[in-house]
């Protein structure tokens, strides 16, 4: 039987599938999905075609409405969606960033091997769990005043490092150096700040996690070495969290505002959740200033957690940083909108690049990546689910040419949370994982089942597509040894 989507998409090659603009009246550009034929069935069932097509309605959108292979159904924008709009006369859409502004990932490398850590993993996981506040309704150990929170919004990671949370090098080795310029605390509502104050320095719940992992495979030794990843068996630490309630409130506030702006500027949209305003309008500028603040909050959050990870390792495994390592490899945002320069139709243009569940993938020699990575390209951190593996990749010139320098961000769900819980009823996830050598500690048992491997696409299939398509190149694969879930 032929698949229903065969009638709709144009196959460009094994990994590129185009949705022509005629698919839905009002599309300004085509849709382009990076995926394999095997994964298209699921993408079709999820009605993601509709969502990719809806994004193509945004005023000022250029190139294509893009979807990465981990794409799945989201509200408004699909998760795994990338859209570039002209900064001059295009729009910015808060829904194209999502509620968890600058949800992202940070990777630390250690000087330790699996043999040294495994005997103490249980103790280490318990210590991390005690030291890094996590779970629904948890509040942080940090006590910040309103004035200090404003500084967090403006300074990002720098704020944390200045207070002893982390190394100066951490800042340099983060996307945007852990701080988007132009943040304005005045544009962040008091409600957002009220949510943000107690939650600073918390992991949160849902799919957020902290993972101690082991290098399982190295695909490119020379590139890995530049990142300080030298051998199979080396221990790494991955931190996945975002801007917590502050970011959620900023998104909510600005979607409400932009619902008005849509009428004011006469923008025609197929879904209210895509509400937007011209980048250059007062509404657009205010959102960008508030979003930058929320993004900086998220970087501060990951920075503080980094510090507690280092403390925890030191306490359990003994020895100082010299012995342990725990230097930062990189930190990426995967829910963000940024003004970037890209070549469009042979002309350099400033674009507002929305990445919602997508990672920046800048190539070697790009001025916006740290000097140590100039020769290899920007590191890309792609977490999988807690039972499988995660990847480190690097950005490419082809990504710059085709995807506004973007690639995938993770595995992508295939099962709803309650379906996962139902299908795993009676299964002790922690025990199942323990039998495979993975120690897990979660704030709630429910969240463990919701986030089990069965609920996700295999991240290896996702990374295979981006690698073969050439929009990012895989460098390292790591498997989990200890996981903390909110």
């Amino acid at each position: 039987m032929s698949a229903p989507w065969l009638e709709i998409v144009n196959k460009i090659d094994e990994y590129r599938w185009q949705i022509p603009p005629g698919y839905k009246e009002g599309m300004k550009v085509p849709g382009l999905i990076y995926t394999s034929k095997a994964m298209l069935d699921h993408i079709w069932e999820e009605q993601v075609f509709q969502q990719v097509a809806n994004v193509a309605f945004l005023p000022g959108i250029v190139g294509s409405s893009l979807a990465m292979p981990d794409i799945h159904w989201g509200y408004g924008f699909p998760i795994g969606g990338v859209a570039g709009t002209r900064a001059q006369d295009g729009v910015v859409s808060p829904g194209g960033v999502g509620f968890d502004i600058n949800c992202g990932v940070r990777l630390l490398r250690t000087n330790l091997t699996e043999d040294e850590v495994r005997p103490k993993i249980s103790q280490l996981v318990s210590e991390l769990f005690a030291n890094v506040p996590s779970g629904l309704g948890s509040s942080g150990k940090l006590r910040v005043s309103e004035k200090e929170l404003d500084e967090v919004l403006v300074k990002g990671s720098q704020w944390a490092v200045a207070r002893g949370y982390g190394d100066a090098e951490d800042i340099e080795l983060s996307e945007e150096s852990g701080c988007i310029k132009g943040a304005d605390p005045e544009k962040v509502s008091n409600r957002a700040k009220k949510r943000g104050i107690p939650q600073l320095g918390t992991l949160g719940s849902g799919n957020h996690f902290l993972e101690v992992e082991v290098v399982a495979e190295i695909y490119d030794k020379d590139i890995a070495r530049v990142m300080g990843i030298d051998e199979v068996g080396q221990v790494l630490v991955l931190i996945h969290t975002g801007s917590r309630g502050l970011g959620h409130q900023v998104c909510d506030d600005y979607i409400a505002l932009m619902n008005g702006a849509v009428k004011k500027y006469g923008i025609d949209l197929p879904d209210r959740q895509l509400a937007c305003a011209p980048v250059k309008s007062a509404e657009g500028r205010d959102y960008m200033a508030a979003m930058a603040g929320a993004a900086n909050y998220a970087w501060t959050n990951r920075q503080c957690i980094t510090h507690w990870v280092r403390e925890s390792f030191s306490k359990v495994l003994g020895g100082g940083r010299q012995k342990l390592g725990l230097e930062q490899v990189y930190d990426v945002a995967h829910n963000i909108a940024k003004i970037e320069e890209h070549n469009v139709e042979g002309k350099k243009q400033a674009l507002c690049v929305h990445r919602k569940g997508a990672t920046r993938a800048f190539p070697p020699n790009h001025p916006d990546i740290p000097s140590v990575y100039r020769d290899i390209g920007q590191p890309i951190l792609i977490p999988g689910d807690m039972g499988r593996c995660s990847y480190v990749a690097v950005g490419t010139q082809l990504a710059m040419k085709e995807t506004f320098g973007s690639t995938c961000h993770g595995a992508g769900r295939v099962q709803s949370r309650s379906a996962a819980k139902r299908s795993l009823k009676g299964v002790d996830i922690a025990q199942t994982l323990a039998a495979r050598g993975i120690t897990v500690k979660a704030a709630s048992r429910g969240s463990l089942a919701e986030e089990a491997s069965e609920a996700y696409k295999d991240v290896s299939d996702v990374v295979e597509v981006t690698d073969k398509a050439g929009i990012s190149l895989k460098v390292v694969k790591a498997v989990p040894m200890g996981v903390i879930k909110g």
């Binding site: 999820e46 799945h72 159904w73 989201g74 509200y75 408004g76 998760i79 999502g98 509620f99 968890d100 779970g135 629904l136 309704g137 409600r191 009220k194 949510r195 107690p198 949160g204 719940s205 849902g206 309630g245 959620h248 409130q249 998104c251 909510d252 979607i255 409400a256 619902n259 008005g260 879904d271 209210r272 959740q273 509400a275 769900r413 295939v414 099962q415 709803s416 949370r417 309650s418 379906a419 704030a443 709630s444 429910g446 969240s447 919701e450 909110g486």
Partner: protein, 138 residues
């Protein structure tokens, strides 16, 4: 009797459909549905209350604002709400009192964190009473 609410399955998010003889009841049941995602409602007692007064540009936005207000109360005050008395409701404004209890981890099991109510697939239908549909980002 028709169920007060049901949970909608979605891959990455979760939605609710709430019903009521009048629109106020449907809004109240949507609130109940929201907190049923966060915790077991039967464990929540009505010992404290919060007064809520909100405005929005139309009825759909009002529904989103209403639910986001409840999420805000949970997120900032750690209060689980279960009974909602809608005192006044127009197409653009709502006045209500919500009753519930502060989170007590010995008693309440927290299930799912809800980031926000969205406009995606948002629906308010009138047909033999009211039916509202909302999707949450979780």
């Amino acid at each position: 009797m028709v169920d007060e609410f049901e949970i909608l399955e979605h891959t990455a998010d979760v939605g609710v459909i709430a019903r009521g003889a009048d629109i106020g009841q449907a809004f109240a049941n949507a609130g109940k549905a929201l907190f049923s995602l966060i915790t077991e409602l039967e464990d929540v007692e009505e010992v404290i209350y919060r007064e809520i007064e909100i405005d929005a540009q139309d009825r759909e936005s009002l529904l989103v604002r209403w639910l986001n207000e409840l999420i805000y109360i949970f997120d900032t005050e750690n209060i689980l709400l279960k009974v909602f008395d809608i005192q006044q409701l127009t197409n653009t404004s709502l006045k209500a009192v919500a009753y519930g209890e502060e989170v007590n981890t010995a008693k309440h099991q927290l299930k799912t964190g809800i980031k926000a109510a969205t406009y995606h697939m948002l629906k308010i239908d009138e047909n033999d009473g009211y039916r509202v549909q909302v999707l949450f980002d979780i």
